[in-house]
Amino acid sequence: MAKPQDFNTHVTPTWCPGCGNFGLWQGFKESLSELGLEPHQIAMVFDIGCCGNGVNWHNLYGFHSLHGRTVPVAEAIKMANHNLKVIAASGDGGGYGEGGNHFLHGCRMNFDITLLIHNNQIYGLTTGQASPTTDTGMETKTTPSGQLEQPFHPLQVAIPQGASFVARTFAGDIKHCKEIFKQAIEHKGFSLVDVLQPCITWNKVNTFQWYKERIYKLEDENWNTKDKDAALIKAGEWGEKIPIGVLYVGDQSSYESQLPQIKDKSLVEQGVTSGDISEFLEEFK
């Protein structure tokens, strides 16, 4: 069985020392290990940015996509080979901004993929510009007088939009990350995990300390993950108190599980052979 460290490559992470990504990464590797997965059984699509650079130190089938383009690539991998565990990883810029349309529709298509968002409320690798989740009033390089916009609330969008697993965790709590990731990967449908992940270099407001003072765990409150309406309200809680944990789990069928083309075998297992077109030609006679 693969151990967490088996998912490392020889490459040393280039993240800043103390980056929230380290906790997230550790929790992620432990979740894969505890689920009994081997590196070759996972296809993981990475965005561009600090999260995306992680492709180099994840020992699994990594696809380093373009900015904002993780979800469609992951969805198609799942359609082509549903035996794989398919994961997409992105920052808040790629996931909610550049890839916003894919996120919106990925929720309602409900493929059995897991979307991990490294949400630090700022652009990291491009050196500190406002992101879709930057809080109103925050000063960044591109909003020197303070952000004028309202922040994007990913969980509050995902629930009514049809995502069947919606959760949030915190990179400062490795064990919590691991537990949430395990459930997300095991869930048969579109799983969103919004990971609060402090950027220690560019975001001096939403720090580890800031989050620690605000977060509380839904599982400590016996939260009912089946109550969609309550989940939608809970998903909007932000500010003095921030809930983490699994907010909502739906039971709608995943997209690919409804495809008759892959009922018996995945497309990849079917191989490439010339299809017979004679029956279709009849339509043109």
């Binding site: 996972i42 373009l66 359609m79 082509a80 919106l104 495809l259 497309l267 052979t273 009849e282």
Partner: protein, 591 residues
Amino acid sequence: MPKNSNIFTLKIGGEAGQGQQVAGLTFAKACARGGLYTYDYSEYPSRIRGGLVTYQISVGPEPVYAAYYDVNLMICLSKLSFDHCKNELVSGAVVFYDSDKFKIEQSELPKDKNIKLYPLPLATIVKEATLKPITTNSIAIGAVAAMLDFNIELLNSMMRDIFASKGKEVIDMNIKAIKTGFDYATQNSNPKEFKYDLKTKPEKSAKGGPASGGKDKVVITANEAVVLGSIAAGCKFMSAYPMTPASSILHYAAKWAERSGMIVKQPEDEISAIHMAIGAGYAGVRSMTCTSGGGFALMAEGVALAALTETPVVIAESQRPGPATGLPTWGGQEDLRFIANVGHGDFIRIVLAPGDAKEAMFLTPWAFNLAEKYQVPVVILLDKFISEGHESVDELVTTNVKIDRGKILTQEQLDKIKDYKRYELTADGISSRAFPGMKGGVHIANSDEHDEHGFTIEAFDAEMRIKQQDRRYKKLPSIIKELPKPRFYGSKSAKTTLIGWGSVKGAVLEAMKALPADKFNFIHFTAVAPIDAEEVKKLIKGSKKLWLIESNKTGQFGDLLKENLNIEFDNKILKYTGIPFFPEELIEKLK
């Protein structure tokens, strides 16, 4: 315009939603069943109801490669269609018009052409024959058959097939409508005076009864042929967003998906479409997308992603005139330079441009083989004229589609490799693929420049950057060798060599039929990028004068050739009206 006497052209004009395209296609298939050849062309606006929609079909005893401009018989279902098309009517032409809806005065006819005008009061005919209004198109087609002494049983056989699922009552009603239209035209016009007839074969079936028509031909568009070609090529995945004139590729693939085993997905936008196709290709299946120019603009970044990750993908692009929304339901060849240079950075773009449905059928598997063997994006470049124009062809060859996936490792082979390198520096530039799920094949498919394993490099490792970029370009000579060769038509000794690509082929071949062999010959390109410069040099060696023909403003392919070969053209025939070249106008220009 001069006319080719072996060709008969019918035009049906009316409003959007009146079904003239369906009626026309029914007639086309009936002609094909009777052993005749057809080519059709339809004009329609970007609206669902009203406006002006025309359908024209040219028919002949020999293969017809393009629709003709000159109209011999016209059915006008709206006044606007008459006003718009009356100058296309040739001497001796006949016009039927729906006299229950509008009037055409004799004085409105073009002068000195001896055109005959006959009312066809469709609502009255429907009422008197106790038919239903939905059968008016069948009545009109019946009238056409009367004028042409056309074997009505061929039309009846079409009705039996088209309405097979609707039951006997609907079939019988439409067969009755055809007969009603036939009889009405026979009694109220003068078919004997009309100088065209369409003699079909077989006259009778083997048993001596009425002929039901042979089914040795297909009436098909290039879009439909691309779908058939993709199934024959083993393509199992299509993701595409609708856009005229590419949409019917998506429609047919979706319609047949459960029977062909192809997964067909309409995603949220074209950006998603190309990335899905890339994702499926990466996972190990043959995949494609389709779009028109505007959608392809959105796909540009994805093409570059396929290039650097070396993921095979096939993109069918059916052109319409631009820029921007342009002329959405019309045609042209305006995207070539864009496509031949699409995406940022240096990489090989392969562009194949079939000239008709038959070429689309065999170039599609070719595109898949090139994409997989060389791990590159390949574009099949079409346009509205062939994407929507139906051509009757002797049955398409469907067997012996050779599948070549190139260097793909089996699990057994992979087990023997100690240190698998996805982007290995090889002599021919091609590295072996392993797919996710395979043991021992873990690697990074990386959109960053990378080393042999796929790990990101920076330009601190400039040596590896050069090696990888040079490796990818090592594929180019082999690719050029495997591209379909330009085809030479006509006599070597002709005074002028005409050079064209894609859909201009049909009108040029028709014009060649009408002109003496020493006037001009024709080189038709189906591989428009990369250019095989040596092959072109060989082909034009004996040419005295070079003329270029394209459906765009600037002569885009001519410029590409000039870039590669430094040749000048003596003349350029360029049309960018959104309407195809008609054989007659080429005959005028080339005679």
